[in-house]
Amino acid sequence: MSTRSPVQVQAGAGVRELTFAQAVREALAEEMRRDPSVFVIGEDVGEAGHPFKVLAGLIDEFGPERVVDTPISEAGITGIAVGAAMTGLRPVVDIMFGDFLTLAMDQLVNQAAKIHYMSGGKLRVPLVVHTTLGATRRSAAQHSQSLHAWFSHVPGLKVALPATPRDAKGLLKAAIRDDSPVVVFEDKMTYQLRGPVPEGEFVIPLGVAEVKREGTDVTVVATSSMVAVALATADLLEAEGISLEVVDPRTTVPLDRETLVASAAKTGRVIVVDEGCRSYGVTAELASVIAEEAFYHLDAPVRRLGAMDVPVPFSPVLEDLTVPTPETVAAAARELLGKA
């Protein structure tokens, strides 16, 4: 199966409908069965199975030695996982909300990311950090941020952003098998969404983008939570005779520049959409890659849509203003085509 082709998973042939959360759990369980060095560590990962129930039932199969409930100590948990990863285990650290990564920054940025390099390649840190991003859950400013750009900025870390149940399974399995530290961000709003997921051995290599929908007029490069927004925009605009191509990088590090640039060259017009804050964020990097490498194919400047540069507000009336929506993406597409 070409991972660069549009999603055309057929029913049957080992493909079922699963929720995003079920796909994550299946990936973890399969990897823990395959490799006894894999274990999960985090707050309320055991009997509680994570507040979003993403890990429910894992402890029943693997026990408390491999599904390790911890105190509320993000720095300590992550540091312990780094040490365990350096000495023969493959920890998956669950950080309940991406916002709490701030508490583990030294362990990730100064320790995990640099140990392989600083040791001249002798030490390895096969660590996965499993966490969330995304607003609109009415959780206010400390449970709603999308901080993946921060980690994409640190050499030595890889960053995965699954947008569908299928990608959630395939990318998490690849992350667990990777010998470098990988931070996997999942949109907390998608855990109950359903989609086709292949059974058993299904690994999506890190660094391979996917064209989620083929189109001809405008490329929308969308990440994580914004992939669904982009696909909804494509449906919306189809009725107006506008054809969007939706490209999901799936990992910001490594970045599949080739697929992004090829789509930009094909359509000549590009919008980049990401739920991180717009300034100094993922959209800036992706837009500049496209501007640098596809410049002579572009008919218009690359447009960027990100979250507003404000702390995420609580009131739904305000919060909904802060993130891109199918309507705002559609408006940008019409502008690019001179149909505004």
Partner: protein
């Protein structure tokens, strides 16, 4: 259930065989002579950057590592040369790393503050104060899970007592009975500030609050350090969990090689007192001679042999090649 209290020791200081006494003296004099050369390299502008010298604290690294197996783990600090050498690192490759050469332990990518030698159990020095507390505790968790009988030693200075992550991992180490030994080298100064100005209460009350047995020992007496380290290692190998050693010690030189004028934070009289009356090398040699285990000539011979080793190591490191420019983006990802 562990109940925190004084870590029980068999004696105040270890009885040693002649071989043990000479071996530990050799370990300490290797650190001393290596670092004297490092200081000269800095002063003669042959070494890039800075180094934080361990001179004066040799008994801590050597006494603790004497109690370890070759496959046991250590993590170290910005003042880490002593730990690395005591755990078995070679002086030539240490010098090479400090000079940024390709023969260095980290191919010149780590430098003084990041020497790692996983083959010798050294998981790396760390330039973040308290930064390796998690790593050592995680290595202990890994050893326990894998059932290898290994222990992990986390060396840190008393400055790390100000870092929250230390308490997070001590809490988990105690809850889960992990085979880790927290070795607090209290050299009295957090960089340029006396630790009494930065540390509320008593040091040992902190591990005791987590139910971790703790003891404070004379870090200038390698025999006292060894007794405490053996007790902590034995406890860890029995599966009974972590211990905490506070080793009272003193760095003879500055916070780093460039810290020459120290009069604003400590007196010359204080420095002279430690150097003259509490030197770890002289203390061990004096004891062994008084016991009739060895003669001063025996110790002089050890010193001469190490001197030759250090000189040869430095020569080879000075002549060693720098890394090829193509290595700059190697080892970013495994």
């Amino acid at each position: 259930m562990t109940v925190g209290g004084r870590l029980s020791l068999e004696a105040e200081a270890a009885d040693l065989s002649r071989e043990e006494a000479l071996r530990m003296f050799e370990g300490m004099v290797r650190i001393r002579l290596f670092e004297q050369r490092v200081n000269q390299l800095y002063q003669s502008a042959k070494m890039p950057g800075l180094a934080h010298l361990y001179i004066g604290q040799e008994a801590v690294a050597v006494g603790v590592c004497e109690a370890l197996r070759p496959d046991d783990y250590i993590t170290s600090t910005h003042r880490g040369h002593g730990h690395c050498l005591a755990k078995g690192a070679r002086v030539d490759r240490m010098f090479a790393e400090l000079l940024g050469k390709a023969d260095g332990y980290c191919r010149g990518k780590g430098g003084s503050m990041h020497i790692a030698d996983p083959d010798g159990g050294n998981l790396g020095a760390n330039a973040i104060v308290g930064g390796s507390a998690g790593i050592a505790t995680g290595a202990a968790l890994s050893a326990k899970r894998r059932g290898t009988g290994q222990v992990a030693v986390c060396f840190f200075g008393e400055g790390a007592l100000g870092q929250g992550v230390l308490y997070e991992v001590m809490n988990m180490a105690s809850l889960w009975s992990l085979p880790v030994i927290y070795v607090c080298e209290n050299n009295l100064y957090n960089e340029y500030t006396h630790y009494r100005e930065t540390t509320a209460g008593e040091v040992l009350d902190r591990p005791l609050a987590f139910g971790i047995p703790a003891v404070s020992v004379d870090g200038q007496d390698v025999r006292a350090v060894l007794v405490a380290a053996r007790a902590a290692v034995a406890r860890a190998r029995r599966g009974e969990g972590p211990s905490f050693l506070e080793c009272l010690t003193y760095r003879y030189l500055g916070h780093h090689v460039g810290d020459v004028d120290r009069s604003y934070y400590r007196s010359r009289e204080e420095e002279e007192e430690w150097k003259t009356h509490r030197d770890p090398l002289a203390t061990l040699a004096g004891w062994a001679v008084a016991q009739g285990l060895a003669t001063q000539e025996d110790f002089d011979r050890v010193r001469e042999a190490v001197e030759a080793e250090v000189e040869a190591g430095l020569r080879s490191a000075l002549e060693a090649p720098y890394p090829d420019p193509s290595e700059v983006d190697q080892h970013v990802y495994a």
